[in-house]
Amino acid sequence: MDTVTLRIKRYDGVKEWYQEYQLPYEKGKTLLYSLTKIREELDPTLTFSAACRHAICGSCAVRVNGNAFLACKTSLDQLLETFETERLTLEPLNNFPVIRDLVVDWEPKLERMKAVRPWLIPSEDGDPSEGFRQSPEDFRKIASPTDCILCGICSSECGQLSLNQEGYLDPFILNKAYRFAVDSRDAAPEEHIRPALEKGLWKCLHCMECVTKCPKEIDLAGENAYLRQASIQMGERDNKGARHAYAFVEDVKSKGRLNEVTLPMKTEGFVSTMNRIPFALRLIRKGKINPLHMPREVEGIEGVRKIYEHAQGVKEP
């Protein structure tokens, strides 16, 4: 391989276009190196952001062939190998307004982040001149979530956000809510959790893209599960998400499997479910569900029930 082609999406505030740049192939370089080389040797108008160049400032995320990466941390060789090509398409992050070329606008995101009250609500155990005591175990709970560098990769990859910009919070915002909800120094976890709940906490599609792409390997899906559980414990059961979860639990407990016919009714209530009749009819027509089929208990249901009994006895982690 002698040359690598980067096809970059450009935007100048009015028009959009793709522009191709050819670079001599060099082994062991990062994507940021290539972008810098283009800007410094081929085209001074190419605009992208970067600062620390070692994966801590979160400025340099871009999409390569549709997937978001930190440019400074991503090796070009790896990209060429992964996508089995000598031609890469670079675009700005998804789910952000674009300012110019690969530079996106963070201001609306930071505005939204305020929803979850992303700051410590100090408990009475601490005070400004004495600080807090916190056990090493409690510190460990916040060690990983505070790794977040606000790079926006999770927002770009988020399946729900791509469908629903307004009704859902970016994964990094939910991470903030989690980070304070589990901080032993915080007096009011529900103040962080409730806004997350109100902004679509249960809508996560479980596509796991945020988890697999996060450059800091934060367990965003696990955090989401925690926030849901915690919201139920706060008594927030009367919402679609919680009802859906309870319907799952009940169905599996009684029969060892789901009843797809009653599940929507338990989740959304009778009236809303009626709106879904056309959809259900289509499913019936295609043979996807059978309305007359009432699931029987599965074989080994005793085992399933034992699991439930056991789970009930287990203490919170």
């Binding site: 600062a51 160049r53 110019r100 963070w106 005591r133 505070t146």
Partner: protein
């Protein structure tokens, strides 16, 4: 015209602490402008920690010991009244940060954990694994959100307007719209960080550490103090200059030469790898010079070996360091030693602060804090973990100082700043239209090369003269620079043009200060004057800029307690 009571320039640790302190007074209108989003600031890169004599790990530690270590580390060039003020207030500041929510690592009693660091006689560096600056930066940002601090995101400070020795206002470019604004202000806190980028790629600093605020103050008539003192961090990754935290040495890493020898035994037999940075950096360069390094020329290096710490300790205490070595040097420190070499890390010198309690400069209305400022508490050499501490502590006092000024001063007329803005509007226009000339990056790279080769770790007269000449020529070339981008919107080429102009001005001051300091002290090591000379040089350099002329003066060091003695480790 935009007007505020207080404008803070920079949203790193210093800027945000200043903003928090200033905005405690609800009657004052405060704005923070920053060329990058606050959480992108370079404070986030600080890995190792922040010093405060809490005595959690070593009950025999004290503020006094921190004071003494800092003065000794500074090679007696620090102002001792300021150092005492600093060290005695740090313990409480850590508690304040804890109360803000900084996730510090903890000891078994739940107190803030502390680790040993170079040049410290007790383990007093508080940390959060190896991402201390990152978590402090994000926590301060959270506090700013809580308080509703007003940020002007991606606004670039171009210059300061001063009339009759007082601040008239600031000129800034709103990068997104391309509009250039004059801003009236009663007080401005400059907190724009360091300028390690005078060495361009041979630095641990972020791409944007170009000393814009320092240069703006310099142009406005505030002298630069001690610019010749440049800290080289001993453990930059050999191929990229990216920092391997001092925590590596703190946790017990060994430095090895090609013979597999722990060569620090020759230079600091007691402290070994935990000697202060200047000493360790020179030791490494000496090893390389004398042929005991690996590789050759600019690619030469020595090794840092961490394998004996074991996997568990490395994963627990140095996870980020391990990831950095893996991604940027292709080495897993659990399995192999990592190639390292010194890299420019920190500027001890900077904007001349005349009153450490308020961070005022000689010009009424302008204050400075953080790495851009020189108070001086670091003197000729800063100790690891003392900068983030400096940044948050003096950031806070600068915020308080600005509040005081804003209460006393009325809003200046704004006439001068309006004119200054018009001048910038013309410059922006001209540079956008200019189609031919010398590329800015070419000028920048030549500057970095001459600075690294001639005003680097070891210095001599003839080389520094050469650097001065080269920088002088580059300043002329700069008049004919071309940016190659006509855009009004988000024109980073223009921003970079201004940054490089700032670097050139500062590089010249570094070389000039270094040339005239005919002694070796702290980070300033001269091959032709290898000894410290207290008789002639126990004093601060002050460089003034009058038009294109640089004028050199000196000022005495404040010594309250510790008489200079030989600095041995």
């Amino acid at each position: 015209m935009l007007s505020y009571d207080i404008v803070v320039v920079g949203a790193g640790g210093a800027g945000m602490m200043a903003a928090l302190a200033a905005s405690e007074d609800p009657d004052l209108e405060v704005a923070v402008l920053s060329k990058i989003y606050p959480t992108r600031s370079h404070t986030g890169a600080a890995q190792g920690g922040i010093n405060a004599a809490l005595g959690n790990r070593d009950p025999s530690d004290s503020v006094e010991k921190h004071f003494r270590d800092t003065v000794k580390g500074s090679d007696f060039l620090a102002d001792q009244d300021a150092v005492e003020f600093f060290t005695s207030r740090m313990p409480e500041l850590i508690q304040e940060l804890d109360f803000y929510g900084v996730p510090f690592s903890r000891d078994e009693n739940g107190r803030v954990a502390q680790r040993p660091f170079g040049g410290a006689s007790s383990p007093r560096t508080c940390y959060s694994a190896d991402k201390t600056g990152h978590v402090i930066l994000h926590t301060l940002y959270e506090q700013c959100l809580k308080r509703g601090v007003k940020f002007l995101h991606e606004w670039f400070l171009l210059s300061l307007a001063v009339e009759e020795g007082e601040l008239d206002g600031l000129v800034a470019l709103d990068m997104r719209s391309g509009a250039i604004h004059p801003i009236q202000a009663k007080a401005a806190v400059i907190a724009t960080g360091g300028f390690g980028r005078i060495y361009w790629n041979r630095t641990t600093n972020a791409l944007n550490m170009t000393g814009d605020g320092t240069a703006a103050c310099f142009d406005a008539g505030i002298p630069l103090k001690d610019p010749e003192f440049v800290q080289f961090h001993p453990t930059g990754l050999a191929s990229s200059g990216i920092l391997m935290s001092e925590a590596c040495r703190g946790e017990g890493g060994h430095l090895l030469n090609k013979e597999g020898e722990r060569f620090m035994a020759r230079y600091a037999p007691e402290k070994m790898e935990l000697g202060p940075r200047d000493l360790v950096s020179r030791a490494i360069e000496t090893e390389i010079k004398e042929g005991r390094g690996f590789g050759e020329g600019i690619g030469a290096y020595v090794q840092m070996d961490l394998r004996h710490l074991g996997k568990e300790k490395i994963l627990e205490r140095l996870p980020q360091v391990r990831a950095l070595a893996m991604h940027f040097e292709g080495v897993d420190i659990i399995e192999e030693p990592v190639p390292i070499r010194p890299s420019c890390h920190y500027m001890m010198g900077g904007i001349h602060v005349v009153d450490y309690k308020t961070c005022r400069t000689p010009i009424e209305g302008i204050l400075a804090a953080g790495e851009c400022a020189c108070i001086s508490i670091h003197g000729a050499n800063r100790l690891g973990g003392n900068s983030v501490a400096d940044v948050v502590l003096f950031g806070k006092y600068a915020g308080l100082g600005a509040r005081e000024i804003a209460k006393q001063r009325s809003l200046p007329s704004g006439k001068k700043v309006k004119k200054e803005a018009d001048r910038w509007i013309k410059t922006f226009d001209r540079m956008r239209r200019k189609t031919e000339g010398i590329p800015v990056t070419e000028i920048r790279d030549k500057m970095a090369e001459t600075m690294w080769n001639n005003v680097g770790i070891f210095r001599r007269e003839s080389e520094m003269k050469e650097a001065l000449e080269t920088v002088g020529r580059l300043l002329e070339d700069y008049q004919d620079a071309c940016i190659g981008d006509t855009s009004v919107r988000y024109n980073l080429a223009f921003v970079h043009y201004v940054e490089v102009g700032n670097l050139l001005k500062l590089a010249k001051a570094v070389a000039l200060g270094a040339l005239h300091r005919k002694e070796s002290r702290g980070s300033h090591a001269r091959a032709d004057y290898p000894k410290r000379d207290d008789g002639r040089f126990l004093k601060h350099t002050l460089i003034y800029k009058k038009g294109d002329d640089y004028i050199l003066q000196y000022e005495p060091v404040k010594i309250t307690k510790y008489r200079p003695e030989e600095r041995k480790y």
